[in-house]
């Protein structure tokens, strides 16, 4: 497929072109010292050099708070209105990393499992994803251990690679990606084929094929207690994770009207599974942390055929007590190796 070139210093021009073409442009933008995916409203805001934003792109498809129903009371009757967005705004996310992009098809399987969650899919359809290959990955990165790559294309409509001269090489991967190239006409030029592309290396930290067989056999193992005794049971890991998708549904209302709201939840919270009776199937930190790892590396694989981790390293880098999921899973792989 033909590749295109965006020369150094012309990113803003491309963004302007995309906005002129009717796209809402979302990119890593600084917010109080952290980077998050936000709509670009001013020149120079988009920071494609940011390796790891505080939160993943999932919130643009699966917002942290989302009404599914609005209703009004009228005596004993209730009038309801669905919260499903009719036609979400045409959006382009530019500057996510291949790991984040890879989380999208991974979550498609869940949101399309028998019941198709249009809240997710309507935004998916309205959104074009432009990922940027990682030229300088860091020690938290482990995409290559979970089947990804710093220049992976899964989930992306267009892949950008940094070039040695400070520009980017653009490779459209889908129809939506080609539409971006069209919209960028005048700013983009056809690549010469001689550009030197910068892509970093992410060393493989564990052998994924060793992990699941061990998990299958070791639901009960001292390892779980050993690694999780210090977990604070906060929800950071789940909330910053591109693939964590558990949510809660709650009503909020006054005497006249109300909303039913879907909001992010975490399996690390003690009340996540607590029954009305008080019985809690996962009463302790180790059982909850085990669920987090098991769900990603075992159950999701059984159910949907993919590992629910893309190796972005966010949960590790933002964990208050420095729990590192890569080390935890590498530990599993080691145990698997040594138990042979």
């Amino acid at each position: 497929m033909a590749e295109f070139k965006l020369n150094e210093g012309r990113l803003q021009e491309l963004i302007t072109k995309l906005r002129d073409a009717g796209y809402r442009v979302v990119a890593p933008v600084e917010e109080e010292g952290a980077f998050v995916f936000k709509e670009v409203t001013e020149p120079g805001q988009a920071r494609l050099d940011v390796l790891r934003t505080a939160r993943s792109i999932k919130e643009w498809f699966f917002p942290r708070v989302e009404p599914t129903l609005r209703y009004e009371f009228d005596g004993s009757a209730v009038r309801c209105e669905s919260g499903l967005p009719e036609s979400p705004q045409k959006t382009v996310i530019i500057g996510c990393r291949p790991c984040d992009a890879a989380s999208l098809p991974m979550l498609d399987t869940l949101f399309d499992w028998d019941y198709r969650d249009e809240y997710w899919f309507r935004r998916r359809e309205a959104t074009t994803v432009i990922s940027v290959a990682c030229d300088v990955p860091d020690s938290y990165c482990f995409c290559t251990s979970v089947g990804g790559s710093p220049e992976g294309t899964a989930g992306a409509d267009l892949l950008m690679r940094r070039t040695a001269d400070g520009g980017y090489l653009l490779e459209p991967l889908t129809e939506k990606g080609r539409a971006i190239i069209e919209a960028g006409e005048g700013v983009l030029e056809l690549a010469s084929g001689t550009e030197e592309v910068l892509v970093g290396e992410v060393p493989q930290r564990f052998a994924l094929d060793k992990v699941k067989p061990w998990l299958d056999q070791n639901f009960e193992h001292d390892y779980w207690k050993e690694i999780s005794y210090k977990c604070l049971s906060c929800g950071i890991c789940a909330f910053v994770c591109p693939t964590c998708h558990c949510f809660d549904i709650q009503d909020e209302a006054d005497l006249e009207r109300g909303v039913r709201i879907k909001s992010w939840d975490s399996c690390c919270f003690p009340i996540f599974t607590r029954h009305g009776s008080g019985h809690n199937p996962r009463p302790t930190r180790d059982t909850r942390y085990r669920q987090r790892v098991m769900h990603k590396f075992r159950y999701y694989v059984d159910k949907f055929g993919v590992t629910a981790c893309v190796g972005c390293g966010r949960c590790s880098s933002s964990c208050p007590i420095d729990m590192n999921i890569c080390s935890v899973v590498a530990g599993v792989a080691e145990l698997a190796e040594s138990s042979k």
Binding site: E59, W60, R64, V65, E66, P88, Q89, T91, R123, D254
Partner: protein, 147 residues
């Protein structure tokens, strides 16, 4: 919904023993005062959690009045002393957040002070009326989180 002319909605958290009795006295004494107040009776000012006030604003109150027995007169000996410390701190927190001090007002009204209650309500209502509807808080509701 049809736009009605705005009148302040004020929730008054009052203690059972002094202020509620004082308000009762105002009534039996046929004192006239503004009708914009919705009193909620609690055993003691010590029972009033700051969250009650937050909830009142969440549910559309434009102002809140907290009132109980004068210091030294608490039916439970010291409930209002504890409450006083709490309100000193809480009112500072609200002010720090940028909420005008007249949005939440505090008073001591005894069972004998029917007239003080009537005047107090008029004063509170007048001040909140001057501030206008608490749209800043209500707008929190409509703010969209993402997309």
């Amino acid at each position: 919904m049809a736009e009605k002319e705005w009148t302040p909605k004020i929730v008054a958290f009052v203690c059972n023993w002094c202020t509620y009795a004082g308000a009762d006295l105002a009534g039996t004494s046929r004192l006239k005062y503004d009708v914009n107040i919705r009193p909620i009776k609690l055993p003691c000012t010590g029972r009033i959690d700051p969250l009650f006030i937050v909830k009142a604003f969440e549910q559309g109150a434009d102002g809140v009045l907290v009132s109980g027995c004068h210091p030294g007169d608490c039916h439970y000996t010291s409930g209002n002393y504890h409450a006083r410390r709490r309100w000193i701190v809480f009112s500072e927190l609200l002010r720090f957040l940028g909420i005008h001090e007249d949005r939440v007002q505090f008073a001591w009204v005894s069972a004998a002070e029917g007239a003080k209650w009537a005047d107090l309500v008029n004063e509170v209502v007048a001040k909140v009326r001057e501030l206008g509807p608490f749209t800043a808080y209500r707008e929190l509701d409509s703010a969209e989180v993402v997309s």
